[in-house]
Symmetry: C2
Subunit: 200 residues, 2 copies
């Protein structure tokens, strides 16, 4: 809600790059969804005008596409890299589930993801979402296979696990009170969830 300071933002940064716009677009998307990725509000937030934007991008859709691509590459492999550091398959699965469930408790951590799910009707969003989800499912299924499960069984459990994460993210966002609130409650819940998806 900054009031005046229009021309006194940063000592540098009089000029903007395309990356500044995509970053602002992702930030806006995290707060207000895809609808908040609007040229003029973004320009106001960046202390610029549309004239700048339409030099860097052809139109709003081009910005959305660029922002999604950036998110996809930046964010997708982060968790996988973290998980891959664990030694054995079971520890990797624990780390994976624990990390993603814990992320739902951090306000705004999954905001972009939820915004994308909320706008799955948009072509670019649907495409990005499909790629990321496919990779997640494949990776999770591979973890179950490493645990010794046959492919179909591993696929089913991966689907349950990913669904449980997505649903949990939804619940944590839409109805925070109905989800484990304290870190300990989350820990025991995560343990129980892991126990169920790795059950006999």
């Amino acid at each position: 809600m900054e009031m005046v300071e229009r021309r006194t933002r940063k000592p540098t940064a009089t000029r903007l790059t395309a990356g500044d716009w995509t970053a602002a677009a992702l930030e806006a998307m995290a707060r207000g969804g895809l609808a908040a990725v609007a040229v003029e509000p973004l320009a106001a937030r960046l202390g610029a005008t549309k004239g700048s934007f339409y030099w860097h991008f052809a139109n709003r859709d081009a910005l959305i596409e660029a922002a999604l691509q950036r998110w996809e590459t930046d964010h997708t492999d982060a968790v996988i890299a973290l998980v891959e550091a664990e030694p054995d398959p079971l520890a990797r699965l624990r780390t994976l589930i624990g990390t993603v469930i814990e992320s739902t408790a951090i306000p705004g951590a999954d905001a972009i993801e939820l915004a994308m799910l909320a706008t799955a009707g948009h072509p670019h969003v649907a495409a990005a979402l499909a790629r990321v989800t496919a990779r997640r499912l494949a990776y999770t299924a591979r973890l179950f296979e490493d645990l010794g499960l046959p492919p179909q069984e591993a696929g089913h459990r991966a689907l349950v696990a990913v669904s449980a994460y997505l649903g949990h993210a939804q619940l944590a966002h839409a109805t925070p009170g109905l989800v484990p609130g304290t870190p300990e409650q989350r820990r025991t819940y995560v343990d129980r969830l892991i126990g169920l998806v790795t059950g006999p």
Copy 2:
């Protein structure tokens, strides 16, 4: 973009009721989300004008509130009533999970629900969603308690089950190709899901 035919729609239906507007609002919400619940498009779709709408409702928000309330009362107890017809707790759980997962395979069946999750930021939507979700969780937890599980354990499994449903609905909507496609695949998946959430 209809050109003329303004007064030649249905033989009857010259006058509209508030219920007609809420029904149209829910239909629009199922197709295009909350943003599609717009007064003028709805009026055009109903063959009327805004003059009619603003006689029945104070503003757009009042329509949204009425539509949500109608959905909440109409749709909430439907599944529960169906499930409650089953004899024993395990059969109820099977029917519940089978029904809701199967509903994700029917195109547009969960559209309103997904639209609401997509717009959980809206106050009325958040409130309706919280009420419905709370009742679902409580009911599902009660099913697990009827299976002989202690309250906390039942609550955890209910959370897993509801999350798995919500996540599955998201996946089925956003990335239909990554979810069991044929009825048989769904059946075996549902069996496996039930087996996991009812596991030891």
